[in-house]
């Protein structure tokens, strides 16, 4: 499976890939700076951002960048993430998913049910995080809100950040687990065998009418 196989199928265009990686880098910076302020044991992570004050200054701005960039990515991916009947069948067979027994699973479209659930988890988390984040953005906005709202927003922000971090750990692991996925997001292409194995319905869709030689 060389990097430039003529049979390769385009999965992500350069624009989508760049978009994805800006979101990803923002997420990593947000998770590191957020965790630094979440637990004393991780406060040392503030050193990566130039100290505690810089961490608390930068974190909300990076958050705005992530949300803005994710809106672009999310709009592009939204339609492919609607949950369909076959997704529930796929989820019911999650044991086969975990055990790598894909032959027992229903055909998968561009995204499988796990990816779709992850997508909407990210959407929900980001909505809660940006709204609660504005409430607890002390320098600019906190004075506009009553103290009970600020307290609740602080808790929500921590909780949904926790959910998002766990979701992204799963996302990253899935990319490591299913070989060929990382290449899809770095080089944009997947082999026909990869598409056939993991996203058969999508494979048929994109190869429709393609007479092979």
């Amino acid at each position: 499976m060389s990097a430039r196989d003529a049979d390769d199928i385009v999965r992500y265009t350069a624009g989508t890939r760049i978009n994805h990686w800006i979101v990803a880098i923002s997420f990593v910076l947000l998770a590191l700076s957020g965790l630094a302020l979440f637990h004393p044991a991780l406060f040392w992570l503030t050193n990566l951002f130039g100290g505690g004050p810089w961490t608390s200054i930068l974190h909300p701005f990076i958050g705005c960048v992530m949300v803005a960039v994710f809106i672009l990515l999310g709009m592009k991916m939204w339609q492919d993430n609607y949950l369909q009947h076959r997704d529930w069948l796929w989820l019911k067979k999650s044991k086969d998913v975990v055990m790598n027994r894909e032959e027992n699973l229903p055909d998968v479209g561009r995204y499988n049910a796990g990816q779709k659930l992850l997508f909407f988890t990210i959407v929900v988390c980001l909505i809660v995080l940006i709204l609660s984040g504005i409430v607890i953005w002390r320098i600019y906005f906190s004075a506009l809100f009553p103290i009970a709202v600020i307290r609740f927003a602080s808790l929500l922000h921590a909780f949904f950040a926790f959910v998002l971090i766990c979701a992204i750990i799963v996302h990253i692991y899935a990319a490591i687990w299913v070989k060929g996925s990382i290449r899809a997001m770095t080089r944009g292409r997947v082999s026909p065998g990869w598409a056939w194995k993991h996203h058969r319905a999508w494979f048929r869709e994109v190869t429709k009418g393609l007479q092979h030689k």
């Binding site: 975990v98 320098i139 600020i150 921590a158």
Partner: protein
């Protein structure tokens, strides 16, 4: 640290004990503010400005005696005036010197994410160490009394220090020194409680049946206490909370959530690792490529 205090019993965002060999063996300190003796002269405010070298911006008149009209990074104490018409129809002028209450269980310290930005000394004083402050404002979120203020200029949190610098060398806080009526007194917490009891006894003989001391148990007691004529209705005194405690939301946010969430995140990553080691990656091999090729060939 050239001058170690060796008496820090609590330090924000810190998981191990601080040097605390030196205790407050002569007793914890407390400031007792007797609202029944206060004449609203604001000498305490002036003394606070003077000792701490603070000069707030000149504000505007809000049609109220409160001046300035709120606590700020440069106004660490403030007389709050309330005109109260009692059931007999008489006017009572209730004046409360507002400022940090120096809680035994400080909500600011619990909420603070920056190690050592907030400390509590063995004598009970809760002090901000601004050089460690990151300006996040979580202390404001955690405080049950709405006391800390973030400076617009340097983005650091400020509040009354109970003149920890003066107390450390055996002096009373500046406001206590300046009070002309003896409405503010300072000493060990035990002595202050005893003094308060004497005052309450006296007030009761003067018709203030509900006179009492304000030392709220919900925050473990405070190192700034009030004698109130109407201890049954603290809210009369410019909204002094009746049962202040660290909000359950803050308790949850800063309590069990922290270790549990860290554990769950680590566990998620560990599960991934175990899956990779135990079950292994999902690879595409030549059989899959052949199957894809066959399907493409038979395609119409």
């Amino acid at each position: 640290m050239p001058l170690q205090s060796l008496d820090i019993i609590r330090r924000s965002a810190t998981t191990l004990p601080e040097p605390e060999v030196r205790g407050a063996y002569t007793g914890e300190v407390a400031k007792l503010i007797d609202t029944t003796k206060c004449i609203g002269c604001k000498a305490c405010q002036v003394a606070c400005m003077e000792w701490n070298d603070l000069r707030d911006d000149i504000g505007t008149c809000t049609g109220h005696y409160d001046n300035p009209h709120d606590l700020s990074e440069a106004s660490w104490t403030l007389m709050r005036f309330t005109e109260y018409e009692n059931p007999k129809g008489d006017l009572e002028w209730l004046i409360r010197k507002d400022g940090c209450m120096h809680c035994e269980d400080p909500g600011c310290l619990k909420a603070c994410p920056s190690p050592g930005a907030i400390v509590q000394y063995a004598n009970g004083i809760v002090d901000f160490q601004e050089e460690n402050c990151i300006g996040c404002g979580y202390c404001v979120t955690g405080c049950p009394f709405d006391v800390p203020r973030i400076s617009k200029k340097d983005k650091k949190a400020y509040k009354c220090t109970l003149c920890s610098d003066r107390v450390a060398v055996g002096l009373e806080p500046a406001c206590v020194k300046a009070c002309p009526t003896g409405a503010i007194v300072f000493g060990t917490k035990e002595d202050m409680k005893q003094h308060a009891e004497e005052r309450i006894e006296d007030l009761k003989t003067r018709g203030f049946d509900q006179a009492g001391v304000y030392d709220p148990a919900g925050v473990g007691g405070t190192h700034v206490m009030y004698v109130l004529h109407h201890a049954d209705q603290p809210a009369l005194y410019a909204g002094l909370p009746k049962n202040p405690k660290i909000s359950p939301t803050v308790q949850l946010w800063k309590g069990a959530t922290k270790p549990l969430a860290l554990f769950a995140m680590a566990a998620t990553a560990a599960l991934g690792f175990l899956h990779y080691i135990g079950i292994g990656p999902n690879e595409t091999d030549e059989t899959d490529e052949d199957a894809a090729r066959r399907e493409l060939e038979k395609a119409p």
